[in-house]
């Protein structure tokens, strides 16, 4: 904005101005930027390999990268404690997805509702603020007593750990709707539903996505904790069992996979975000 020019500008000239500014920005970004994360990763693995090979620590404390890869291969083919890696991964991802999607489906409407009604806000907010600081680990015994050690208790745990984040982001997204945009809709005679559909909902989406990204991290924390305490399958269970048997290589494989899957989920959300809210941060 705030463009100025000497000659009579057509809209095309203005457009070219903006495009040129963006092009400049693109061009100043160095091409090797994409390589940086890989270089960091390679460096870290080399340092790790060096430390493992130096023999400063017993092999059982710090397995070499090669050892971890070999353990990973074994896990993938014949499995560990009778369960293959794929089964563990699917078990964990399934639980996360179920709990997380449920939290979105329930949390987003609650957040919207709280943002539009003072009474609903007064009813739910204290509960939310009370529950939020309680660490998920504290729920686990109750979840097991109430729902057993099956899938349900884990999914419900994920649900409870992530829903406050989703609710709060949806609520603050709605609250952050620009007053003038609401007024524009209202002065054109928009119904309540139309105001919601065309102005409030799109305004709230960026914050909801941010909330989802935070929530997915929290979901992994809860899940692994739950699986460590009571589960036969899942990456958390795998790590736990391997730890008890001092199979450090397997523990490493578990940790690496949790990180990779978490990262992938983040990338997926980013991709959806780009599709759904390409205007984010630009208006």
């Amino acid at each position: 904005m705030g463009h100025s020019w000497k000659n009579r500008p057509g809209p095309a000239a203005e457009m070219a101005d903006v495009a040129a500014a963006q092009g400049l920005w693109e061009r100043t970004r160095p091409g090797y930027r994409q390589l940086v994360p890989w270089m960091v990763a390679v460096t870290l693995v080399l340092v790790w390999a060096g430390v493992a090979a130096s023999g400063i620590f017993p092999k059982i404390y710090v397995p070499s990268p090669l050892r971890v890869v070999r353990d990973g291969a074994t896990l993938a083919t014949s499995g560990f404690a009778g369960v293959t890696l794929l089964t563990d991964v699917l078990a964990s991802v399934g639980r996360i997805s179920a709990g997380f999607i449920a939290a979105i489906l329930v949390g987003v409407p609650i957040g919207f509702w709280m943002a539009t009604s003072d009474i609903v806000f007064a009813a739910i907010d204290p509960m939310l603020q009370f529950l939020r600081p309680i660490p998920p680990l504290a729920y686990i015994p109750i979840m097991i007593i109430w729902f057993g050690i099956g899938e349900l208790s884990k999914v419900i745990l994920i649900f409870f750990c992530t829903i406050p984040i989703i609710i709060i982001s949806a609520m603050s997204g709605v609250r952050g709707t620009q007053e003038t945009r609401l007024r524009v809709a209202r002065c054109f005679g928009a119904t309540r539903w139309q105001v919601f559909r065309h102005v409030i909902l799109p305004s709230a989406l960026p914050e909801i996505f941010t909330g989802m990204r935070v929530a997915i991290g929290v979901a992994w924390t809860c899940l692994v904790a739950a699986e460590m305490i009571a589960s036969q399958s899942g990456l958390g269970a795998m790590i736990h069992t391997a730890g008890n048997e001092i199979r450090t290589g397997v523990v490493f494989v578990g940790i690496i996979f949790i990180g990779l899957i978490g990262y992938t989920m983040e990338l997926v959300i980013r991709l959806i975000e780009k599709r759904v809210i390409p205007w984010k941060g630009k208006a």
Partner: protein, 260 residues
């Protein structure tokens, strides 16, 4: 027609225990159909408040407001508003933004496509239909906002410092452009600005307000010939009008000048 009778607006005290804040006081103002009226006054005198009242976004604490022959009880499609920021919806294309009011009134039947295309052209936006607002410069965004407001042929157009954030060149482009549209569609315009020259150049009439609580201190008819071009500013008559408006804006200054 727009009319305000004995309109007052008080806001609750910003700090508990203080007196409520009287923003505008006993405003009497009637705009004839198709009249272009500028409203000038020092910052914080209640110009936006008056616009919000006529727009129906806020209720007067006392007095009556009517527009298009009806009492104003809320926002309505007979009164379109343009704000200082374009307030476009970033998730819609330029064309969808322009057609927003029509979309709200039930889809976009083929009958409207031509009207929308025509408005795009009038606005100098042809070729930008599929672009998004953040691709446009500030001036173009504001043009979309004006087009959006005018596409439904509102009887009343309310504008709150619509060019205040633009650079001088863009501003004068848009002024000319607004006058063109106004002469074509002839809505009643209430145009808030703090730029005295702009107020005179555009309007049939300049209403001047006092500092808070805002009252109308002068109501100056502008009889410069139309169509107006920006060199009207160089006119002797224009200078006379400007002095009159400035006098009304700063009565203490002019008194001091007369005394010295």
């Amino acid at each position: 027609m727009v009319s305000l009778q004995q309109v007052r607006k008080t806001y609750p005290a910003p700090v508990r225990g203080q007196d409520p804040l009287l923003a505008v006081d006993t405003i009497d103002l009637t705009l004839a159909d198709g009249q272009f009226c500028s409203l000038v006054g020092p910052s914080g005198c209640g110009k936006t408040t008056i616009l919000n009242l006529v727009g129906g976004f806020e209720q007067p604490s006392a007095g009556r407001i009517a527009a298009s022959g009806r009492s104003v009880i809320g926002p309505g499609p007979d009164r379109a508003v343009v704000f200082q920021e374009a307030a476009l919806l970033p998730w819609m294309t330029v064309e969808a933004n322009l057609a927003f009011a029509l979309t709200l009134r039930g889809g976009r039947p083929a009958a409207n496509t031509e009207r929308i295309a025509q408005m795009m052209e009038v606005m100098g936006l042809t070729g930008f239909e599929r672009h998004y607002p953040y691709h446009l410069s500030g001036g173009m965004q504001q043009r979309v906002a004006i087009g959006r407001a005018l596409l439904t042929n509102p009887e009343v157009l309310l504008m709150d410092e619509p060019f205040g954030a633009l650079d001088a060149q863009t501003r004068s482009d848009l002024q000319r452009f607004l006058l063109e549209l106004w002469s074509r569609l002839n809505p009643t315009v209430l145009f808030v600005t703090h730029d005295v020259e702009e107020a005179i150049l555009l309007a049939d009439r300049v209403v001047v307000m006092s500092p808070r609580p805002g009252r109308i201190v002068d109501d100056i008819a502008v009889n410069l010939p139309r169509p107006r071009t920006w060199d009207a500013v160089l006119n002797r008559e224009f200078g006379e009008l400007r002095r009159q408006v400035l006098d009304a804006l700063r009565p203490s200054d002019s008194r001091a000048r007369r005394l010295s």
